[in-house]
């Protein structure tokens, strides 16, 4: 096992971006000179590009391995350890590449590389004093490193390291233009909301480790957890509420899902993601659409063996995912900021992934993760190109008619819209269909309603995406004359990555070509992603007749078409209608524009009470009163009082009286010792 499945090349996949980030850091922090741009570009894009090539190499090595032992490992060293014997805990710096993580590595480095290239063009006019250009690429590389650690970690603790690393980079990049206080605030919000999820994740790790230690196989490595999973299946812990006892597996599943909900922006922790759009657009594409936010979904798929055995946790996950998909999609209808629409659409698509994972379609959720990475990165980068063309205008009310002015961007953006709306044969169609199939055929309570919710959301998705498309690219140009004059297509460094992503968005669905259609073309086992992953995440547990599958596909296409036609009617043929509808349904409209007032509710229920208690009790009471007043100043005052009141007279200045006291003291000690 050691020889065949060990490959020291693995460590270089995350290390290369880390190295680049470190070099950037040294140049920014120690050398303190503005580095030439070609150097920054080569270093950043080169390291990620090389990491992508290494990932490809590792992928092909995996393909060559035997089906039952298809993984590569690379152990570096023991990160830290504690205890001995049966309860020894140790966290290894160990990387493990199996089919699931190799899919993720390819997406992270591949899409990441394209976005790095794009950033060269997008950030080109950043000429700030604080070496912002290099700082940007430093964070981007650091992010790539953390994300690769996250997906390649062979144990939970190392995964958590990557998990926190990507959170940090997300924070740094959201607040990248920190001179605007709002951006800094959004960064903090993302960080703090994620913290809540991370707490659940940590508790999950502790509970899981505790359970494993109880049955005598303490380890946090995924392989060990899986191997000794049967031992902890039946363990229970006394319940504080809701029944007598809970299964440990369910508790762990729920805790991990809380973590995933934070990172992957699910109800109730999704509020940070729309605000994360304060960062530069390539960041939104890379971190807040294609890779980081899918970390939660990856983690669930990684622990698929656990979730498959935890019906309660899975049902919670499925329902939260379904509701998130629906709620976020409805909010997206009324947004007017081009990036906000895409942000809510990301939340909605992430909801789909959890809906799939919760209903047992782990392959479907990873499939959607991959295709979503393609088309959402494309949409964000396309939006970035639009924003640049419009001179940093993000309000779609001030766009319109851009199709003729920026033809290439228009075309690739349309590809992205069609892909996310789920029209065959674009990638989004296949992955979304598989998710709906999983929801329909699962055993989750109320699964039919989940399916209906998913189907309805598919229609809404198509509607708001085409609304965005028509408002931006068609109709009258609503920009000011000054801006209108200067609308222009972007340079190749921005447009070429878009073309690559557009191509991937079109053909990406072929990696999971459903068996039903495969039969049409005489291809057996056409769902290659399923074959690739089923040893890791398990075979899909649902089976439906072919006729049902056709009906469902038709229903999905019907919903998408309905969304398309409605958007076309409202925003292209009769642009006078939407404002009138808005006035006649003023209540609904206000609800959606204000995003259900979720931010305000959180503010009133959590933030304000917390601030109030912190201020009144902890700041004025404990800190100012107890610590400052009593402990620090009170102690000082009392010392001064006693000393100046009487003790000072002991210091007479007469040496001989000191000597005498010393003598008395020495005599007293002698007497005590000789007693």
């Amino acid at each position: 096992m050691v020889n065949e499945n060990t490959d020291a090349i693995l460590r270089w996949i995350p290390l290369l971006p880390l190295l680049a980030a470190a070099v950037h850091g040294v140049m920014i922090g120690l050398v303190r000179r503005t580095a030439p741009r070609w150097l920054v570009n080569t270093l950043s894009c080169g390291s990620v590009g090389l990491a992508f090539l290494l990932s490809c190499y590792a992928f092909f090595r995996l393909v060559g391995l035997d089906d039952d032992a298809r993984f590569l490992v690379d152990s570096l060293y023991t990160w830290f350890g504690a205890g001995v014997g049966d309860t020894r805990f140790s966290a290894e710096m160990g990387l493990r590449l199996d089919p699931l993580s190799s899919v993720m590595t390819l997406v992270v480095t591949g899409v990441g590389f394209l976005i790095h290239l794009y950033s060269i063009g997008y950030m080109a006019d950043d000429h700030r004093e604080d070496r912002g250009y290099q700082r940007f690429f430093c964070y981007l590389n650091l992010f790539t490193f953390s994300m690769l650690v996250l997906v390649m970690a062979d144990n939970l603790v190392l995964l958590f390291l990557g998990w926190e690393g990507v959170g940090l980079c997300s924070y740094l990049l959201i607040g990248f233009w920190y001179s605007d206080r709002w951006n800094a605030f959004c960064g903090s919000k993302a960080f703090i909301v994620n913290r809540i999820g991370d707490f659940g994740f940590l508790v999950g790790i502790f509970v899981l480790f505790g359970a494993l230690a109880q049955v005598g196989s303490p380890s946090v490595a995924f392989a060990d957890i899986r191997a000794s999973y049967d031992l902890i299946r039946e363990l229970t812990i006394p319940a504080p509420f809701w029944g007598e006892s809970w299964r440990v597996v369910e508790v762990v599943g729920i805790c991990f899902f809380i973590g995933a909900a934070g990172k992957s922006a699910q109800i109730p922790l999704y509020v940070w993601l729309p605000d994360a759009m304060a960062g530069p657009t390539p960041v939104s594409a890379l971190i807040h659409a294609a890779t980081m936010v899918t970390a939660g979904d990856y983690m669930v798929a990684r622990l698929a063996f656990l979730y498959a055995d935890a019906p309660v946790a899975s049902s919670v996950m499925a329902w939260i995912g379904g509701l998130t998909a629906f709620v976020a999609a409805t909010i997206a209808i009324c947004q007017t900021d081009i990036k906000k629409v895409l942000a809510y659409s990301t939340v909605s698509q992430l909801g789909y992934m959890f809906l799939a994972a919760g209903t047992g379609g782990y392959t479907a959720s990873i499939f959607h993760l991959v295709t979503h990475a393609f088309f959402k990165a494309l949409l964000f980068l396309g939006a970035g190109s639009v924003i640049l063309a419009m001179h940093h205008e993000q309000d779609i009310e001030k766009m319109g008619g851009l199709a003729r002015r920026i033809r290439q961007t228009h075309f690739v953006f349309l590809v992205g819209v069609v892909a996310i709306a789920g029209f065959p044969p674009f990638s989004g169609f296949f992955s979304k269909d598989e998710i709906l199939l999983a929801a329909y055929a699962s055993h989750v309570p109320g699964h039919f309603w989940l399916y209906a919710l998913g189907l309805l959301t598919a229609g809404i998705t198509s509607f708001y995406m085409f609304r965005l498309y028509y408002k931006v690219f068609h109709g009258e140009c609503r920009a000011t004359a000054d801006v209108r004059e200067h609308i222009h297509e972007q340079p190749p460094i921005i447009v070429y990555p878009l073309w690559v992503l557009a191509a991937l968005s079109v053909v990406g669905g072929l990696i999971g070509f459903p068996l039903v259609y495969g039969e049409w073309f005489g291809v057996e086992d056409s769902h290659s992603l399923n074959n690739w992953l089923n040893k890791v995440v398990g075979e899909a547990s649902y089976h439906v007749p072919h006729s049902t599958e056709y009906v469902m596909a038709l229903a999905a296409i019907g919903m998408s078409t309905a969304g398309l036609l409605l958007a076309r009617f409202l925003y292209l043929s009769r642009p006078d209608l939407p404002p009138r509808i808005a006035t006649s349904f003023a209540g609904v409209q206000r609800l959606l524009v204000n995003k259900y007032w979720v931010d305000e509710i959180y503010d009133a229920l959590i933030v304000r009470p917390l601030v109030l208690i912190s201020d009144r009790v902890f700041y004025r009471g404990v800190d100012a009163g107890l610590i400052d007043g009593f402990a620090v100043n009170g102690l000082g005052r009392s010392v001064r009082g006693i000393a100046s009141g009487g003790l000072k007279y002991l210091q007479s200045g007469l040496t001989q009286s000191y000597v005498f006291s010393m003598l008395v003291g020495a005599a007293a000690i002698l007497w005590y010792l000789a007693r």
Binding site: K648, Y649, Q651, S652, G653, L654, T655, Q656, L663
Partner: protein
């Protein structure tokens, strides 16, 4: 051979005289001399004990006597510094009375 008790007694008496001198005399030079007396009382005790217990049979340990040499060396240095202070004090105040140097107080 002189019994150990005698040596110790002499040492104690010398030490006592030294202490009384340090505590009661006002002339700094006399105080220094009294300190010298105390040091030598200790030296005497060292030598006496060393003579009494020279170590295991056939072995002639010299720890106590070596210590005495150390003490003498340090005492010499101490006297040099002490007398320097005395001279400096006399130059400034025309006196070596330690009752008069009591500036460092409340």
């Amino acid at each position: 051979m002189i019994p150990l008790e005698h040596v110790i007694l002499l040492s104690a008496v010398l030490f006592g005289i030294g202490i009384v001198g340090v505590v009661t005399r006002r002339n700094l030079i006399v105080v220094l001399m009294s300190i010298e007396l105390m040091l030598n009382a200790v030296n005497l005790a060292f030598v006496g004990f060393n003579r009494m217990w020279p170590g295991a049979p056939g072995q002639n340990a010299l720890d106590g006597q070596v210590f005495v040499l150390m003490v003498i060396t340090v005492a010499a240095a101490e006297v040099a510094v002490g007398l320097g202070i005395v001279i400096s004090m006399f130059r400034n105040r025309d006196s070596v009375d330690i009752e008069e140097v009591s500036l460092l107080k409340w």
